[in-house]
Symmetry: C2
């Protein structure tokens, strides 16, 4: 019954113009600038358009206007992987706020045939928010070639390109210092590893900076640093993988007195593992996270973590992008700050080794 989807093709502005006995110019005005038409003409055109089921073609309009009213998010991984990651969802909340305010839609642009490079030329967007890239990658050159503005997020600072960063190094250092000041000398860092097919270089970017922060804190300790035992374990950033890693770390004669998970989702998994093993947190072991996702405050015990303003990061990046699109002020840089959030999951370690004669 609908019929408009099949059969005869969609009516064009020419069809409407003919049927209404006006020019295509008039049809365009009826939709985009009705004030320029007499009421009679306008009404007639609109009526004919309604009868024919006419709508201006959005792509033709984009071509002639030179804008799409849509922002692109260039993803380093495919859409399912991104959407499974609560970090991304939160980041998109921030980007989405700007979209809402400025009337943009949001295009998710995953790698094409496993290549971010290939995806860049095909996306119909007015600009890109780019996550998970370092500045010297070929992708940046391709973006410049593409000729639309873009903003690098969580990349390294760069003079020539707008960036939004978070001082992850300071954040990780603050948490590590917190742990050291509590008296911990046997600490396991649980790092996240890149997902399968990842095109990002995990050693750089946020992970690299957080690890550097860990080292900073150790250095700041002075000569005593040699007393500290530091182990590093990796897991994919899901709660289930955090749980498995947590089991490995905690179910051992030689378990650390503190675990510093480099993302909250991993910390949640470690908490699950501790619960499962009957190991008390923070009594037997301290657990710390990173991100301060909304989830963190609902965990038991409430998670001590490093807050990074993920939503603000998305918002600032999108703001920069929209400014660049609108033609104002090129090359912005902004660094967001982290904060140490001490809740219930960290405490002074027991004096006596847990596996010994007890508390």
């Amino acid at each position: 019954m609908s019929g408009s989807t099949d059969g005869a093709k969609r009516p064009t502005s020419r069809d409407v113009a003919t049927a209404a006995g006006v020019s295509r110019t008039a049809v365009s005005f009826a939709f985009n600038d009705p004030g320029r038409l007499s009421a009679a003409t306008r009404d007639r055109i609109l009526e004919v358009a309604a009868r024919l089921g006419y709508r201006p073609d959005p792509v033709a309009r984009m071509l002639v206007q030179g804008r799409t009213n849509s922002l692109g998010i260039l993803l380093p991984q495919d859409i399912p992987q991104a959407m499974e990651n609560p970090y991304y969802a939160q980041f998109l909340v921030g980007v989405g706020q700007v979209c809402h305010q400025e009337g943009f839609t949001l295009l998710l642009v995953p790698p094409l045939r496993n290549s971010m490079l290939d995806a860049i030329p095909y996306a119909a967007v007015d600009g890109f928010v780019v996550t998970g890239l370092e500045r010297d990658r070929g992708e940046v050159a391709e973006l410049e070639r593409r000729g639309v503005p873009f903003v690098l997020v969580d990349s390294e600072s760069d003079e020539d390109v707008p960036t939004v960063e978070v001082d992850d190094q300071a954040g990780a250092a603050a948490m590590m210092t917190h742990l050291l000041e509590l008296g911990h000398r046997d600490i396991t860092v649980l790092a996240f590893e890149a997902g399968p097919d990842s095109v990002i270089d995990a050693a750089r970017g946020p992970l690299g900076r957080r690890m550097a922060g860990v080292d900073d804190a150790l250095d700041g300790l002075g000569p005593v640093a040699s007393d500290v035992r530091l182990r590093v374990v990796e897991a994919r950033a899901t709660r289930a993988e955090g749980y498995k890693a947590g089991l490995d770390i905690l179910d051992s004669d030689d378990r650390p007195t503190a675990v510093f998970a480099l993302s909250d989702i991993l910390a949640a998994g470690v908490l699950d593992a501790a619960y499962e093993l009957g190991i008390s947190v923070p009594g037997d072991v301290s657990v710390a996270g990173y991100d301060d996702q909304p989830e963190a405050v609902w965990l038991r015990p409430r998670l001590t973590t490093v807050r990074q303003p993920i939503e603000a990061k998305g918002r600032v990046a999108a703001d920069f992008l929209v400014s660049a699109i609108r033609g104002s002020s090129r090359h912005h840089h902004h660094t967001l700050h982290t904060a140490l959030i001490v809740r219930e999951s960290t405490a002074t370690p027991r004096k006596t080794p847990v596996r010994g004669t007890g508390a």
Copy 2:
């Protein structure tokens, strides 16, 4: 230093053709069908294109090819609200799988000026996945007018339009029956309410069907049904709101023996409230959820809930859409099924009222 973003405008295929001494046809072939050119010509064109920083314009290409290679998700709420909802993230995982497989990007299309209707004509997509709409709304007519395929998700079944549904009524009935069979006769249903600015009709759609399922179970009980005390409370679907509602429901002389939350996120909040109040679950009160989000199994106690295949819903919807775009088989319908997942948060109610002389 980059220069390509500002100053002179982007080179076009004409510029490349001129510089390489060939026709625009040849330039097009060099990028889209290199086999049709002699190696020498092709290499020369590509080299000149690289030197000039040329890329075919995606929008012009879309116009002439009549496709965008992008799927649209028509949202009933703005992007931040959608991304805050774990249900949506999971749904997008399913849609994203198809995008990945078929090489589509994904455009998030929120209401424009608070109107879904207004957003439809402007999105450059090959089709829409539509959530949160009923069939008789003006939006459906607008979609038909738009002339691209679309699929309605969680809508009512309809002959004329492809739909993907879940038998929510049966799912809710199954849970309610489970509670009744355990012996509960004083049950509070915690329903989710639409967010602010919502354009959806909450009384219909999934919520309405789940409530109908609750009634079905009561009806199935026969004459004893009159012994059942049923209360309904509403809250916005966030954990914090679930927590607040949980406090209200549980911190009372007259609390129910079971709470059936119509979404897991709400159930999680009720669990938080019970924990806060020192009320044992399922000892003092049973708590049930709906959705079986990944989270549910990490809650303590593990949540009894109704599983609905959210990811599959997204996948099936996107599959239908891609088929329609490719021109095959119009008008599909698919109903997905729910399953009762009994875990630890529901049990037989205490015989004696909690506020009485105790167990």
